[in-house]
Amino acid sequence: MIDLSFPTPPESQQAESFREQVRDFLATELAGRTPLQRVESWMGFDAGFSRRLGEQGWIGLTWPKQYGGSERSALERYVLLEELLAAGAPVAAHWIADRQSGPLLLRYGTEAQKQAILPRITRGECFFCIGMSEPDSGSDLAAARTYAEPVDDGFIVNGTKLWTTYGHKAHYMVLFCRTSRDHEDRHGGTSQLLIDLTLPGITIRPIHDLSGAHHFNEVVFENVQVPRDALIGEMGDGWNQVLSELAFERSGPDRFLSTLWVLIELIRALQGRDDDQSRIAVGRLAAHLMSLRRLSRSVAGMLQRGENPTLQAAIVKDLGALLEQDIPDIARQLVDTGRADAAHRDFFQVLHYAVQQVPAFSLRGGTREILRGIIARGLGLR
């Protein structure tokens, strides 16, 4: 029998009362934000909001207190994340530091790196970006060419990174690069470096997305001198470090709540209608959301217990991207989009934003084909 089990997600009274606390905070903090701002979801950037979240102790929520963390449970962190996303809070400033870079440093970083960086992250003062994709390496990460040449006092970095989210507002980048000329060793020849983005030789250029927004950047390194202590973990361990992060990245609430605000505004636009089409469509989406949230919380429990739910996480992300993409499509079938009714202005704004964003949802964090390949591997097919 193929083992696809998703154990019962953990429950705790404490996490549920924390939920109320988060909601109260967000109700005040986000009052007045428009639906269009909220649908930006984790792409919304607001340094002030991140700082105030840090003041609550809600960045690095599970981290050790010695590095500024709050030592709360992974379950409470899950609740915090989903409440932030569901409220459409502008979390982009601290998002990557909190979700990826901080945990990476906690696990692999030197004591000096941890002490220097983590407390600043938790205060909402230090933002990160990830230097992963390159012009000729998208899904094929191991094809990265950016080369950090080991020299006496550190590295000389040359290369180009693409799709660097909020690179233009970040303080640091975690750079995935080659540290060996041996191109046969596609995996072992890679490392990760902690890059101060103010170093000379770094040029950050905007990449505008379909809607004209500037989230992404091209980051070019030209003979950038990076000190030796920027190395994260061991030389040549880059590939393993990246792999171990992926399950964390794939199954969280950010993987199925990105268009929740389209559904919320859809429900608002449908108020007063009393028809089967609305009921059935909204009920169907709610059923999808509830079921998927169950699986996502189950994976969170497995991660918390230190298990390695690669297969389950890929399933959550694949279903999540489908749901996020379905929501605007279904919304279009419920409200006549041909005549942008002033009464539904918020709905149309949110919808049009989403239409231009959703194609990315089955690309980011592993394309649909890659994810399904991972699932197929989990089924023993490859």
Partner: protein, 354 residues
């Protein structure tokens, strides 16, 4: 999983696997299942039952779906539970249940020292194999369990697509007091309909696990153009999607278990039945696409699972039915109520109770 649960599932699984060899022999299946006492799993000890946690009993129902058990274990579990709740004798024989649309429940009338009931119980499962049929009617805002003898009822036999007996019953009967029993407030016609849907969720989740298994296995064995079709990327991608549908059905069915005892969380069953039904349709489309012509034949085992899944997604409320019920509740809560609605339903602060 604790030890008693895994022992239970091991035992049941071994039995169901053995019974799979004679998939048409309902009598044999029934005898063996009753021999293990499984139909009494949800009955309290005072009534001679085992008082298992609901989650464990439903896990056995899921196994029955997975192994395509030829007997109506789920229906019997519920029927016995109701008999016990109403203080009636547990049926020695084979009990089953019948439901009405909960929006249009059976009405009981009192006439002298008799009860009168009049109405229809469409597509009642397994009546022809049963010795007792239970259903829930309403009288004076009270829930009453009706304990009926099948041969006292006007019956039009039929089957679902999977050849499982489904009988339309017409009730126009006088009943004695011992056939009409009081039930707790929470156990009304709606609860019964939802509990039926909960059974089907488990069975669908179980059957989809088998469909996934057999399809992956077939793809690994079937050779075309000189290699197993499982080596084709297009087939792998489809099998991955099949796995996601089996997984979400299992997750939805798990989720619905929490609602068995908690009337505030009944919307979980609506969501689960809708989602399981949808998963069944999507998964079968892929399973047949991968199997090719062999999957379309009566002789091949996929056929048994296909016809059951297609039937089960319709029974106790189709996707359309439950989506509409759930959508009604979501729309009533309004836009800003959506997220609180979802989190309240999803979180039990007390854990799953029995």
């Amino acid at each position: 999983m604790d030890d008693s649960r895994s022992l239970l599932l091991d035992t049941a699984g071994r039995l169901f696997a053995e019974l799979r060899e004679t998939p048409d022999d309902t009598d044999a299946a029934w005898r063996r299942v009753a021999g293990l006492g499984l139909p009494l799993a949800l009955v309290d000890e005072a009534h001679g039952g085992f008082d298992l946690p609901v989650a464990d009993a439903l896990a056995v129902v899921r196994l029955a779906g997975q192994y395509a058990l030829a007997a109506p274990l789920g229906e019997a579990l519920l029927a016995n539970r109701l008999l016990a709740e109403a203080g009636a004798d547990i049926a020695e024989g084979r009990p089953t249940l019948a439901v009405t649309d909960p929006h249009n429940p059976l009405e009981l009338n009192r006439d002298g020292d008799h009860w009168w009931v009049h109405g229809r119980l469409p597509a009642a499962p397994w009546v022809e194999n049963a010795e007792v049929v239970v259903t829930i009617a309403r009288h004076d805002r009270q829930n009453r369990l009706l304990v009926l003898a099948p041969d006292s009822l006007a019956a039009t036999p039929g089957t679902n697509l999977a050849d499982q007996p489904r009988t339309d019953l017409t009730l126009d009967l006088a009943l004695d007091d011992h056939q009409v029993r009081e039930l707790p407030k929470t156990l009304g016609p709606q609860w019964l309909f939802e509990s039926g849907a909960l059974l089907r969720c488990q069975e669908i989740a179980g059957a989809l696990a088998t469909v996934l298994d057999m399809t992956v296995q077939y793809a690994g064995e079937r050779v075309q153009f000189g290699k197993p079709i499982a080596r084709q990327q297009a087939i792998q991608q489809q099998l991955a999607v099949l796995a996601t549908q089996a997984a979400i059905a299992a997750g939805a069915a798990d989720m619905a278990v929490d609602a068995f005892h908690d009337p505030r969380r009944h919307a979980l069953i609506a969501a689960a039945k809708a989602r399981c039904g949808e998963a069944a349709g999507q998964a079968l489309a892929i399973a047949h696409q991968v199997h090719g012509a062999i999957g379309m034949t009566r002789e091949y085992r996929l056929n048994l699972y296909s016809r059951r899944l297609w039937s089960w997604r319709d029974e106790f409320g189709s996707e359309r039915y439950w989506q509409a019920r759930l959508g009604e509740q979501v729309l009533a809560r309004g836009a800003d109520g959506l997220w609180p609605f979802i989190t309240e339903l999803g979180s039990s602060t007390e854990g799953a109770r029995q």
